[in-house]
Each structure stands twice: as structure tokens, then as C-alpha cells.
Amino acid sequence: MNAFFEKPILDNPLIVAFAFVGAVIWISNFLARHLTGGRVAGSAIAVLAGLALAYYGGVVTGKAKGLADIAQFGGLALMGGAMMRDFTIVATASEVHVDEAKKAGWLGFLALVLGTIVPFVVGVGVAYAYGLRDPVTLTTIGAGAVTYIVGPITGAAIGASSDVMALSIATGVVKAILVMVFTPVLARFMRLNNPQAAMVFGGLAGTVSGVSAGLAATDRRLVPYGALVATFHTGFGCLLGPSILFLAVKALFG
């Protein structure tokens, strides 16, 4: 009986992922409607459920890819990987109203600059407060607070040690998860209800995974505007991190 199910599941990982995610969303929508009376979006619950399942996967396997490390759910790694994420993000551009996006291009850029510098300064400040003084370490942790990709790329460029890199990646991952979880909660406070606001959000909150999941859980229609700006975030951070920001830190603490 077991082999009867086991083989088709292990042989068709992506198809299993489609069916599984569909089931998660169906249950989440059901809970949203009947348990919260529609006050919490179904997709917000689904993202939380995904994170909880990732935690479970991590506990069971002790590896890094959440639920996808359990063989039966391996397809989630492909379905939720960077390739599919970016492909579907590009597809959402078909819903962009050009006039709305044009209206806030300069705002998006301003948000991008602030969204790189502010998290960096906070990261460096916290590391400094914990007694770290080495400019390379400070810069790598600060860059991790921008995104979990900017952190290790900056660290590698300026020669950080592997434990500092790990700390930097952890910082970025924590930030991405905070953005995913708290964006729908704080959406009203952030006035996140129009395309321009979503562009400001995309630039400042940064991290594509956080922004994409956070906006999806808030209002699906805002996703392309936020993503349009956020996708420049990593490249911009990787440009500033090992250059201007590192030199500034070195000048201050070196």
C-alpha cells in the first residue's frame, strides 16, 4: 500500500508540490473565511503556514531548505526557487498600469537609496553595540541587514570570515521573514493601499522574497509595483556594500 503511493510521489516532485500548495491555500482560505471572518487574507495565513512547515522541515531534517528537504516535498524547492519566483514576478508586470508606475519612479529610487543605507546603518550599529570593531565584520553584518544576498556577496568581496558570513546571512533571512509576516499586519500603518506606496515599500523593505510575500499577503494588485522596485535592491546593495559603505565604515572605525 505504502509503495503504491510512495513511487508516484517520489517520481513527480513538481506535480506533488502543485497539489500540496493548492491544498495549503485551500485550507488557508477556509480558515480565513470561517475563523477570522475574512479579516485576515487567506494568502497571509498561507504564507505563515508555509513558514511553519519550513520550520517543521528544518527540525526534522536539520538542513537548510525547509520542507523541501523532506524527500516527498522536494518539488517545493523548484516551485518556490528563484527561477519560478522571478518568472512569475515578471508575469505580474502584465498588470502594471504604466502611468501609475511612471508617477513614482523617482520615489522608487529614493526609497531604494534609503532602503540600502538605513538597514546598513542599523546593522552596523547593533554589531558595534555588541562590541565588534573590525570594519570588515561590521560591514558584512550591516550588508546582511540589507538582504541575505547582499550580505555574503559583500563579505566575500572584502574578505570576511565564514562565521561572520553566516551571521550576515542569518540577519538577512530574519529580516526577510519579518517582512513576510508583519507587512500585512502593518499595511494600514504604512498606508500600503496604492501603487505609489507599494513602490516606496518595495524600495525600502528591500529583500525580494520578503516584499513579494508581504505584498501578496496584503493586496495582490500591489505586487508588481513593489516588485518592480525591489528587484533592483539586491544589485544596488551589492554595488554600494563593498564600495562606498565599506569605505565609510573603514573611515569611521578603522
Binding site: 493548492g22 491555500i25 473565511r33 498561507a46 504564507v47 503556514a49 508555509g50 513558514l51 512547515l53 519550513a54 520550520y55 537548510a64 531548505k65 525547509g66 523541501a68 517545493l76 526557487g81 519560478m84 519566483r85 522571478d86 518568472f87 514576478i89 515578471v90 508575469a91 505580474t92 508586470a93 502584465s94 498600469h97 504604466v98 508617477k103 513614482a104 534609503l114 542599523v122 546593522g123 547593533v126 554589531a127 555588541y130 553584518i141 556577496i153 566575500a156 546571512i169 530574519v174 517582512v179 508583519f182 498606508r191 496604492n194 501603487p195 505609489q196 506606496a197 516606496v200 525600502l204 523593505a205 510575500a213 501578496a216 495582490r220 494588485r221 500591489l222 522596485v229 544589485g235 551589492c238
Partner: protein, 146 residues
Amino acid sequence: MVIFGTALLAACYLAGVAVGEGIAALIGVKANVGGVGIAMLLLIAAQHFLQKHGLFAVDTAKGVTFWAMMYIPVVIAMAATQNVIVAAKSGPIALLSAAGAFAACVFLISAINRVIERRHIASAALAPITDDHDPASDLSVAPDHR
């Protein structure tokens, strides 16, 4: 045919990512610079051009819209593959700098969005989604594409 839409999307994606790699090489950065954003702009332009010349058939649009609607499921799969353990077990430096960075950004976003709302730089708030109808299915194929 549906595949034309998906192929157009794929072509824009690949072209955008290639340009992003080019920019990265040009300025000496080890990460793709805005490739996905450039791909989005390419798709918007291509779609606009094809619509203007009456070449964007309904079926073609479906080949794009399907993937736009698959976005939320993909994001949920992404959430399920995050390294949540690392996040949960990370020490105070990672937790505090991440939380501090996010909090500072939330206040900045709130401040900027209040200003652009008052100065009417922002558009009116979107109407709330009333039922469980997926708003994506209204979009992109809509004839009033601006």
C-alpha cells in the same frame, strides 16, 4: 495560442536577466543588477506594442496571465522552503539588526507614504477586494489597458 504568451514572457525574462548580468559586469558587481525589473519593463513594452498593433490575441494573453496568477502559490512554496531554523536560532546580533532595520524602514515607509498621500502624488487607495475572486483574472486582458 497560449504558448506564444508564455514564450513572450520567457523571452522578456531571459533578455532582462541578460541585461542585468551585462550591467553587473560593466560596473563590476557580483550580482544581477535589476534583471527582473528590466524584464518587467520589457514585458510591459512588448505587450503594449502588440496590443497597439492588434497582435495580442486573448489566448496569447492567457499564456502570460496564468503565470501571473501562479505567483501567490509560488510565493507560498518559497515560504515553505525558507531556512526558518537559522532565523529562529540566530543570536541577538542577527535578530536585533534585522528587527531594527525592518522597524526603521516601516517608520520611513509610513512617513513617506503619508506625505505622498497628502501631496496627492499617490493615487487613490485601491478599492477593497470584496470576495474571494482572484483580481488577477480581471487584469492584463482588460481592454482599457492604459
